[in-house]
Symmetry: C2
């Protein structure tokens, strides 16, 4: 552990104030001071810097209580939407979803490009990403200097720092250097992360993160992912492999998982797991055909909601297994809240969530003291676009020239006359 | 999130310097400066405060390279062993282990008191703790003012902040207010924590924590516990219920656990689980009779090491199951290192660890990229004594009058002239 230097503390405080404004939408300086528990004068120093850097702006607003045409307008602060832009790309088996997002998370342009399995080679995918980045810049007219970078979400094991995709269902190859390859091609900063972490970041920046510094997001669709947010940071583990919840095992010699092992949560809960159980009901569905998968699952959910026994039992079991997996997670992590996101949250079968909640209560150790609340967030494609953009914006903080011209100084220094030490 | 105030930063820096000295044993100021990356002058300010507070002291030491009788001695810093003392109590089903530890973790006195099941009522246990605190003070001659407090470790779910034992195999009652009851009786500060966290703290202060800011400790004995240390902090979760690894489930409709559920890791790995499988080999052992349990398990391990098939298969299966549980933990947490502690680490059967490592590799998702190393730490009773003491010492940091007489100030303030804000 190292001493924090003053620059680190300043940057941390800048982030806190920015987050405060982001949460509020518009907010007065004095309210920020109340929330972060420092003097309004100190807040003004920070907001002055943020304004000089073009990240926030003043807006005049009448107090809501004032009658029309009367009352003195208050000066409030808000984020400048065009302070920064980022491109988000979510790579899925069957498609790449690309979007441009501004500093407040608005999607300015987006596109979804179907991909055939044959295109899932590192070279082809890097080409597709490069093409799409060009398309997005054309559509929005944004220059390179207006783009902070590109955030890419992909399923599998990713080394976050290097942006190497160690293993992913996307690629037959291992250790694909996605970040460096695309940076070389585009001249833009590229950040690569597990797709579940995009959901975590989207929640942190634009969703539940406003209310909770720590939470867990579970994404259920063609795979089962997890993002762990602790104290407003994505928890990635020692090598960046944390959150592989879908491959935690809840049954000895259980159902076969596409990872090659058996008894994984994913092997009971993911799209392909539901569909292989439902073959007698909905026929065989090609798992690469996302539209067909979605239609079949929607039909299955409808039949379950209508009370058809076989459909009910498929979702009931999936909820039961997911409940055991989440009970294990609660026993280990004790998160304050669990968010269910992804396609299953968009098109739920009623019995799935009922069964999930029952199972969680049944299998968590301290269930008498209550289990963490489960929130279902049916975000659409915006989830991924915003998450991928957040991945970039997360890292983005223009360096303030005033604080940066000082040499590295340590936090103890300001009150320590130079002569005192020795 | 709040701004850190200067006092918080100072206290954090004091802790960092103390930890630095603790890790090194003896260390020069200039080396500390190198390690924490600040100026020697700043380190001198901090060490000056720590010395005034009586926490550290100077020691003259000849450089190791100097020939005998020559060379100028260097002034190094070390912790003052008698700067603080703490009483540690580990409550187990069959006994209470009590000890007094000094600031560097030396055990000055200790005693183990057998307890009959009839004594496991809150009232009786509070009486026993009170009596034993008195005995320890007699033995060491320590006054109340020389004791920082009492750390108590107990298995089960504990609300750390309030010291309420929500659920424990120790008590038939729920929600036992152990901390407040014992504080009232003794006038000492009392901290209560899950026993596995004692192992985590012992490792953090006196063991592997020196090399790793984050790690996981798994304790295997009459139960299976886990302590999660993230960035030199015990991770307790939202309600303090994190780390209940023993009750994560790895099998649907699996072995019956003493928690009332089934398929828990503990139900295959803990002492009682091994012994109930070994009844045909070693007969029925009363699980409350710790000596008999230990003898039976030692005998079983010997027979396993001698190659007796039935004994081998019991430990092999226990290792296999523990490996699945740890693979789930690795998939979720991705810890840099896993430490196995507790009785099974003291008296291992060879096949248990072989099977465990094989199973972890087999069941972790990213096993090709390697699994976290498993270290086996056969600490004896010192583990618990030091852990319980660390629980108290952890919180202990005498308030420095110089830094505390200042009113709450924020970290941005020192360079902010009052007139600049507004």
């Amino acid at each position: 552990m190292k001493f924090q230097d003053l620059d680190q503390i300043r940057e941390r405080n800048r982030r806190i104030v920015l987050q405060c404004i982001r949460e509020a939408g518009t907010i007065a300086r004095v309210e920020i001071a109340g929330q972060v528990d420092v003097s309004p004068a100190t807040v003004s120093v920070v907001t002055g810097e943020l304004m000089r850097d073009g990240l926030i702006e003043n807006v005049e607003q009448l107090p809501p209580s004032a009658p029309a045409g009367r009352g003195r307008p208050k000066t409030l602060l808000r984020l400048r939407p065009d302070a920064a832009h980022a491109i988000g790309i979510k790579l899925a088996l069957h498609q790449a979803a690309v979007s441009v997002t501004n500093f407040v998370g608005e999607v300015l342009a987006s596109e979804t490009i179907p991909m055939s399995p044959a295109e899932r080679t590192p070279d082809r995918i890097i080409n597709i990403c490069e093409e799409q980045i060009g398309r997005m810049r054309e559509k929005t007219g944004l220059g390179l200097d207006q783009l902070v970078g590109v955030g890419i979400g992909v399923s599998g094991c990713i080394t976050y720092e290097t942006g190497i995709v160690n293993w992913s269902p996307m690629f037959a190859d291992r250790d694909v250097p996605l970040k460096s390859a695309l940076e070389e091609r585009t001249g833009l900063d590229v950040v690569v992360d597990n797709e579940a972490n995009l959901a975590g970041l989207a929640e942190k920046w634009f969703g539940l993160g406003k209310a909770h510094p720590s939470f867990i997001v579970v994404t259920v669709e063609h795979g089962v992912g997890m993002s762990i947010v602790l104290n407003q940071q994505i928890y990635r583990g020692a090598r960046g492999f944390a959150g592989e919840f879908g491959h935690t095992k809840i049954d000895l010699d259980g159902a076969q998982c596409r990872c090659g092992q058996s008894g994984c949560v994913e092997a009971y809960v993911a799209d392909y797991a539901l569909l292989r159980q439902a073959e007698a009901l909905v026929g065989v569905v090609a798992i690469d055909d996302q539209l067909a998968v979605q239609e079949a699952l929607d039909a299955l959910a409808e039949r379950s909601d209508a009370g058809e026994a076989e459909a009910v039992s498929i979702f009931e079991r999936a909820g039961y297994i997911l409940g055991i997996g989440l009970a294990n997670t609660v026993n280990l992590f004790d998160p304050p809240v669990i968010i269910i996101s992804g396609q299953r949250a968009m098109h739920p079968a009623r019995v799935f969530f009922e069964s999930l909640e029952r199972s969680l209560k049944e299998h968590a150790l301290a269930a008498e003291a209550g289990v963490p609340p489960i929130e279902v967030h049916p975000w659409g494609d915006d989830l991924w676009a915003r998450g991928a953009a957040a991945l970039v914006l997360e890292q983005f903080m223009p360096k303030n020239s005033h604080t940066r011209t000082r040499s590295q100084s340590d936090a103890m220094a300001p009150e320590t006359p130079a002569g005192e030490g020795g």
